[in-house]
Amino acid sequence: MASNNLPGITGPAGTDLPVLKPYVLSGGTYDEMFLVRWLASIPPQFILLMLLAWPTLALAQTASHGMGDAFAALWRWIPFLTFQGFVFNVVISVFSMLIGTFAGAALGLGQISQNNWLRRLSWGVTQLFRNAPWLVILFIVLLAFPFEIEIFGLVIPVPAWMKAVIGLSLPIMANISEIVRGAVMSVPSAQWEAAEALSFSRTQTLWQIILPQCFKRMIPPWMNWYAILTMATPLCSLLGVGEIITFSRQAMEAENNRPELLVPFFGYALVLFFAYCYPIARITIALEKRFAVKL
């Protein structure tokens, strides 16, 4: 069959004519925003239905032995899990995001610096933390950092969750750095040239012309990374940081580790994470549509 040799595919191309029309990739996985896109694509009515189903499920299974007890156990533990566990997840994610944003912004600006060495160094640091597994970074920070810092004779204890904050902020920093670089790169070069023609200095151009335009463009990916970060905080439980998964496990142990506890307890954690990240995802996608570049 003639299809054994397709020019440009199995053999050398005989022509430079394009084989395909210009393509637009669709599909949730193509960009890094898939998480918020998926979350935002769930219709609110669906969630209301699920919320209605939750207590019904609990009531329906009260009759059968065991499952009702499991939900009763969950009910007893809910205040502890929420206010001792999930609050810590939120605290870890907020502080990590804060540190990661400032460090990442500085690193991103370093990546577009005119100083060759600064640019290369920033690029290297960004690639290092962007490509290292989160778990490895977490392990390194949790074990390598001291458990207390002594400043002028004052001993400040560093609890595990604080180290987790630092560990999670490092990959966030690298990704924010890429967002900053990408946003600056996405501004048409004519803007730079126009600013130069108006005799703006480089610093003035960057701070007064380029960055204000980038700012709103960076908000949706920034929020996407916040959602990813919040979803990643359960990784800390592998290292024994007190957060919702760690406490859920401990609570189940306190309830004699019965297997029917698994669904209610982890289901509750799932519901909490979903309830926290769903509004973020909706707002992110709405903002993305609003700030879309119109050409």
Binding site: L6, V24, L25, T29, L135
Partner: protein
Amino acid sequence: MTGFEAFFVQLAEDFPRWNFIWLYDEKQAGRILSGLWMTVKLSFACVLFSLVIGIAGAWLQGARNRILRAGVQGYIQFFRNTPPLVQLLFFYFALGQFTPVVTGPDGWTEVPVISAAGWAIISLSFFAGAFNVEIFRAGIEAVPYSTREAAEALGMSRTQTFTNVVFPLALRVSIPALNNNLVNLVKTTTQAFAIAVPELLYESVSVWNDFPSAQNPTMLLLFVVYLGLVGVLVFGMNSWERKMRIPGYGQ
């Protein structure tokens, strides 16, 4: 003891926090190497199987049978929307209970047919495979329908059209996204730590639990090795992408 080894023994004596024990102690070197080998095996097997799953899934998504399409869609939604850590734990602890056991090498203990590493390969491949299906589907959708019609007009069957026309074009479109996903997969293999697969992170942790002085060097090694692994993958994918470039596209 060679001069190289003597240097690191001396270094460990002078700076107790920088004990590169796996450079002069054969047993520790063996542990690190076996961990590295396990990570490489895990990564390679997962990349391979996830690609196979991706291609097969994308092909099945275009099938005429509605149940088949719904099945693939359900698989994608399930694996894409749960964290890989949860999947690993679920596969290992929940499904692992139902696999048959055989008598171990010592003729006395009972070991399951599928080891922890086996479960890690299965669950991580399915995890990355779900993304690959979507990536390949997006690529297949990018192929104009007229191209497919032309192939049909030439008398090609559905399979022939897929393997000779649609897939080669879709693959080229998919490579950048595939690159992202496979890098992510190599990074996710560290989470096999949770089910005690003796991969690099696991072995490193056990080395520095035995020798706390070796903690810093081992952490450094972890960083370097993962950057190296990801680097090799990215380099390979980029050169592949350049080789497969469609003439007349891009810069």
